[in-house]
């Protein structure tokens, strides 16, 4: 057998991509899925792609989910790569989550509160039994949902804040950082950490949040409030001088209320962990709030011992686009480095054999 230099990488790539397109479409006897179907019927997948893709656009996210064959990290990657090319013509004012039009709002710390508890469209309390009726087409029975409540629904930390029982929220006066434009620096301020978490991988944050509950950097959390609904986005063009409404986005917000014993300078009070995510993404928002609070350990004078408290560790590893790229780059050719490792190991084995031989001869 003779060695023939490998050529034709270009044709191989071309062929692989046409094969992929064919595989994506699947059996052509089965109707093609439409973007509207994905957006409407796979809404949680669309939400996750938007959140981790860091771009609020349901139609584009549906396209990304379709193009990625439902691989949500790949879908988020597609959105990110698109997002990065977009011009930024305005920055919004901070969204007011207290004024959200709520579909869901629950508090685990008060039995009842102004505005009440609102379960909304949740998987909570469903029995996880496969519903075989979904295998057939058909409309679901009409829901008995409440109309969105326009009554005032103050946020739970604001209620606690009236009594000074919880720390003040940050003043938010400074221009927030943006890690998609400026490289990360440490110590990373909380605004940048929250941005990283909001874009971070749901699975990674879930596991880290969970680890704090199992003793690796415990934060004594209570789910002060979880709310999901529509928030108004406003911009204030300089030529107008007043804010205009440019649309609504669905958000999930989680405010964790955490025990804090106080310090020499601060009386005992509750502290905050915060989570805010695009779409309906409660698991992610809760995990984010746990990890946000865990990362505040140093600021609050707590001992930093656990992974979730280590800001560099969390922020550098929460981005699944970075992570998947680097993990998967291992499949790129490494034969140059491997060859030098081979020679190195061979040389070291020869050396070891020589030493052993000499020792034997000496005996």
């Amino acid at each position: 057998m003779a060695y023939v230099t490998v050529k034709g990488g270009e044709q191989a790539i071309e062929a692989a991509h046409t094969w992929l397109a064919e595989e994506r479409r699947g059996d052509t006897a089965v109707p093609e899925v439409s973007l509207a179907q994905i957006e409407q019927q796979l809404g949680r997948a669309v939400d996750r792609a938007m959140g981790e893709g860091s771009l609020y656009d349901r139609a584009l996210a549906a396209l990304a989910v379709k193009q990625a064959q439902g691989d949500l990290i790949e879908a988020a990657f597609l959105l990110r790569a698109y997002r990065t090319t977009l011009p930024r013509f305005a920055y919004s004012l901070p969204v007011d989550t207290a004024a959200m039009l709520l579909q869901r709002r629950i508090s685990a710390v008060f039995k009842d509160l102004p505005g009440g508890q609102l379960l909304g469209p949740t998987y909570d309390y469903t029995h996880r039994l496969l519903d075989f009726s979904l295998a057939a087409d058909g409309a679901p029975p009409p829901s008995s949902r409440a109309e969105p409540d326009e009554a005032a629904m103050p946020r739970v930390p604001d209620i606690l804040g009236q009594e000074g029982l919880i720390e003040q929220d940050g003043d938010g006066a400074a221009e927030p950082g943006d890690l998609t434009r400026e490289p990360l620096r440490f110590p990373a301020p909380r605004d940048v950490r929250l941005q990283a978490l909001a874009r971070g991988d749901e699975g990674f944050l879930l596991a880290l949040g969970y680890s704090t509950q199992r003793g690796y950097g415990g934060t004594h959390p209570f789910a002060g409030e979880i709310r999901m609904g529509e928030a108004t986005v406003e911009i204030e063009p300089p030529e107008l001088g007043f804010a205009i409404d440019i649309g609504d986005i669905t958000l999930t917000e989680c405010q964790m209320v955490n025990q804090f014993k106080g310090s020499k300078t601060l009386p005992a009070q509750f502290t905050r962990g915060y989570g805010l995510v695009f779409g309906h993404a409660e698991r992610k928002a809760m995990a984010m709030a746990l990890v946000d609070r865990a990362m505040r350990a140093e600021e609050l004078g707590e001992e930093v011992t656990a992974p979730a408290q280590d800001v560099e560790f969390v922020v550098y590893h929460s981005d699944n686009i970075e992570a998947t790229g680097f993990v998967e780059h291992l499949k790129l050719p490494h034969y140059v480095d491997f060859q030098s490792e081979l020679e190195n190991v061979r040389r070291m084995r020869r050396e070891a054999a020589r030493v052993a031989e000499r020792a034997e001869a000496a005996e």
């Binding site: 057998m1 003779a2 060695y3 023939v4 230099t5 490998v6 050529k7 034709g8 990488g9 270009e10 191989a12 790539i13 990657f77 990110r80 790569a81 997002r83 990065t84 090319t85 998609t180 434009r181 400026e182 490289p183 990360l184 620096r185 440490f186 110590p187 560099e312 560790f313 550098y316 686009i321 970075e322 998947t324 790229g325 680097f326 993990v327 998967e328 780059h329 790129l332 050719p333 490494h334 034969y335 140059v336 480095d337 060859q339 030098s340 490792e341 081979l342 020679e343 190195n344 040389r347 070291m348 050396e351």
Partner: protein
């Protein structure tokens, strides 16, 4: 390409990257943080090198892209196509024809010239990362030129194995000041960096760092007086062109231990064969 700027990146981003490059050239071997953009290729697949290339590429440039020394490896093909598509520049596989060479894991065998730029793709710009994971801490160590940890690592290798066990991404000292990761090139290539006439630029997209070695700068591989730096290569000659002073790929030709050693630098090998050099296995190939 429709809808995109020349070489994909917008001009503001290129300016930001060029500013980082200027700083990097002014402080040889120092890692400059930059606002790395999300590229349409995955992190770890050359996004840093691509951003650097995009920022210095001009319409009259001739681009060569190699991965593992070869122009026809899939990722090299993909990156070359990216620039052919987004910048429409002329591409080449000939080292001597290129004005700009983007590389992963190798430095070409043909010596580079003053009118050339080589851009390295860097997975991990921090040479101390395996010894100290915190970047806040390694920044401090660079600031103080506190490289004792690395010397201890090399010393421990020698004490344990009788030699330094690093065979690629072998740390170098640049201009007597900064410890630098040469990117995962084999240690064999390290000496080529020393006093190289071409400008050497390094891009790490995921880690958001840029660094550089200006032309004719001292680049020394770390070693000890009594354990001088040694390069490693397979002790063979290229089976196709007979070159005995180049870095070789080891190709498995059968399942009975058969091996063929061939030039990792495909352009260098092709050039030698065109000039009439023939290796031990070269005739066989020609006969088929």
């Amino acid at each position: 390409m429709n809808g995109y700027n020349f070489a994909y990146l917008d001009e503001q981003t290129k300016r930001m990257i060029r500013r980082a490059l200027l700083k990097a050239v002014a402080i040889p071997g120092h890692q400059v943080p930059f606002g790395s953009r999300e590229m349409p290729l995955p992190y770890g697949w050359g996004t840093g090198g691509i951003q650097v290339t995009a920022s210095v590429l001009g319409q009259n440039d001739v681009l060569k892209v190699i991965d593992q020394g070869a122009d026809d490896t899939t990722n090299a093909v993909s990156i070359r196509r990216f620039f052919a598509r987004t910048a429409g520049v002329r591409t080449t596989t000939r080292t001597s024809e290129a004005t700009l060479i983007q590389t992963r894991h190798r430095i070409p065998e043909t010596a580079l010239r003053e009118d050339q730029i080589i851009v390295y793709q860097v997975p991990q710009p921090e040479p101390l990362s395996r010894l100290e994971p915190s970047r806040a801490e390694t920044r401090r160590m660079h600031a103080l030129a506190d490289y004792g940890l690395m010397h201890v690592k090399l010393y421990e290798d020698i004490a344990r194995f009788g030699q330094v066990s690093i065979s690629y991404d072998y740390p170098v000292m640049v201009n007597h000041r900064y410890l630098m990761a040469p990117s995962p090139i084999p240690a064999f290539d390290n000496p080529k960096m020393h006093m190289m006439p071409a400008l050497q630029l390094f891009g790490a997209g995921r880690e958001k760092r840029i660094y550089a070695v200006p032309p004719y700068t001292e680049v020394r591989s770390l070693d000890f007086d009594d354990h001088p730096f040694r390069t490693i290569r397979a002790p063979h000659a290229c089976g196709l062109c007979g070159a005995a002073d180049v870095y070789l790929d080891e190709v498995v030709v059968d399942d009975r231990g058969g091996r063929l050693y061939v030039c990792s630098d495909t352009d260098h090998c092709a050039g030698r064969r065109a000039a009439g050099h023939v290796g031990a296995d070269g005739m066989q190939e020609a006969a088929e």
